[in-house]
Symmetry: C2
Subunit: 243 residues, 2 copies
DNA sequence: CGTTTAATTGAAAAGTATCAAAGGATGTGG
DNA sequence: CCACATCCTTTGATACTTTTCAATTAAACG
């Protein structure tokens, strides 16, 4: 893939710290390989041992864990700009799968090269690993949502988070964004049954803070929604500062 | 603190990869500062901006998130050897607190020095950031437990995980370990009410796989317990290989 | 030995899952 | 353009799980 420029990754990182020209060039210099996936496709299988890190360029993806009882839990959502598989670089064996929630374009770069630029540019390396730490922070919040929030607030929180993360990469227009997931997928995100998820989404609509029809979500009243969900974006680290 | 040797950290890392002499020396050379905490003490406050990373040397700690509705959710347990606050190095502002679940001894090292050795020894840096990725993997599993497992399996899973992690640092003897947490804390770990947690622990005892009296947990039938919890330790990355 | 904290129990209320079915939207082939 | 199939959303009713409230018992501590 000649001359692939990971723009969304730049947005994601530069929202948190400054990237030097050399660092940008280093990221561009990786031998990126691009590939597209259809809705529901498996991007990285559970138990596989990837040799490339992958970056979500376009679309929406999720981490998925299949349980013995047949249930599925989605443990993370990924938006364009997310370096989805740095985890695999550090951990070797996938303990979960990565799947496309919608048609996706992914860009892959060899672990060896990522390791090399991380060693050569320690600050860039820290920024890359920071994205892993941000993923961890997001997951901690999900744990809190699942354990101690009622379904209405939990789903409201999900909307707030996705809104903020999509906004970073310019995918929110006029307080609206595209969220191409079925209610069954939302159920697997929040850990509820489909029926209860449906009723909760209706309740959220009735609260008046959002319109959520088909794949489009419009946030009419951000402050009210954030208050409802007790949403504090600190954990997303949307502050530009030396790291 | 002259000549502090982070033995538990060595065990933790060497269980995953080989440490060179230079890397060990680099870790020993940090200007460690040690401090003790009592049961329930706050080690790192929410919203603080730590300038030191902290390592749990002895005791048991947890990450804690306080919600607006007054509820508390514990999002991680930490055992000796865990570099609890690398997150703070990468993320700057704490989005949660770290607290002592039992009397703890912590060792602190300045972020600047940790950054320096990570840059100077890229492989060691990767291993340190690997611990963040392992924390993330653990949290993903917690999400799956909370969302899609019934309480009995969830608590069984917690026992399996703590067992494995304490075993890495030599804290399991004769299939038994010390687990100095109240049922109210277990409730905040798994996201259930105290009453239901109590009943579930009784159910777990009745299954015959474990004895859990006071602070001592004895696992009589590891295979049975792991089968009950659908526990697969892959995500703990307990395999020694180049990373 | 009294005081406090933690563990345990019972019963009622609230929340959630499951089952079964009915609408709605979309896409295909005739 | 219609008939049909498919997938998703929505609804109602019932069974089950979990929380909450209110006590009681047990253990730890000065």
């Amino acid at each position: 893939m000649e001359n692939f420029i990971p723009e969304a990754l730049f947005s994601m990182l530069e929202r948190r710290d400054e990237l030097s020209v050399a660092e940008r060039k280093a990221l561009e210099s990786l031998s990126w390989r691009q590939r597209s996936y259809g809705d529901g496709d498996e991007i990285i299988p559970e138990r596989s041992e990837p040799t490339e890190s992958c970056l979500l360029v376009e679309g929406l993806a999720a981490r998925s864990r299949q349980l013995a009882n047949g249930n599925r839990q989605l443990t993370a959502v990924h938006v364009p700009g997310d370096f989805v598989d740095l985890h695999g670089l550090l951990l070797k064996v996938m303990d979960h799968a990565v799947m496309a929630l919608a048609p996706c374009r992914m860009a892959f770069a060899p672990h060896s090269e990522v390791r090399r630029i991380a060693a050569e540019f320690p600050h860039l390396g820290r920024l890359l690993f920071m994205t892993v730490a941000i993923d961890a922070a997001i997951q901690r919040n999900w744990i809190a949502c699942m354990g101690r929030m009622d379904p209405l607030r939990h789903i409201a929180y999900l909307v707030c988070e996705v809104y903020c993360r999509l906004d970073v990469v310019g995918q929110v227009k006029d307080r609206a964004f595209d969220f191409p997931v079925t209610q069954s997928e939302v159920a697997d995100l929040v850990g509820l049954s489909i029926v209860h998820t449906n009723r909760t989404i209706q309740e959220l609509r009735a609260s008046g803070h959002v319109t959520w029809q088909g794949n489009q979500v419009i946030v009419h009243d951000w402050d009210g929604l954030a208050r409802l969900a007790d949403f504090d974006p600190t954990y997303l680290n949307l502050v530009r500062r030396p790291r």
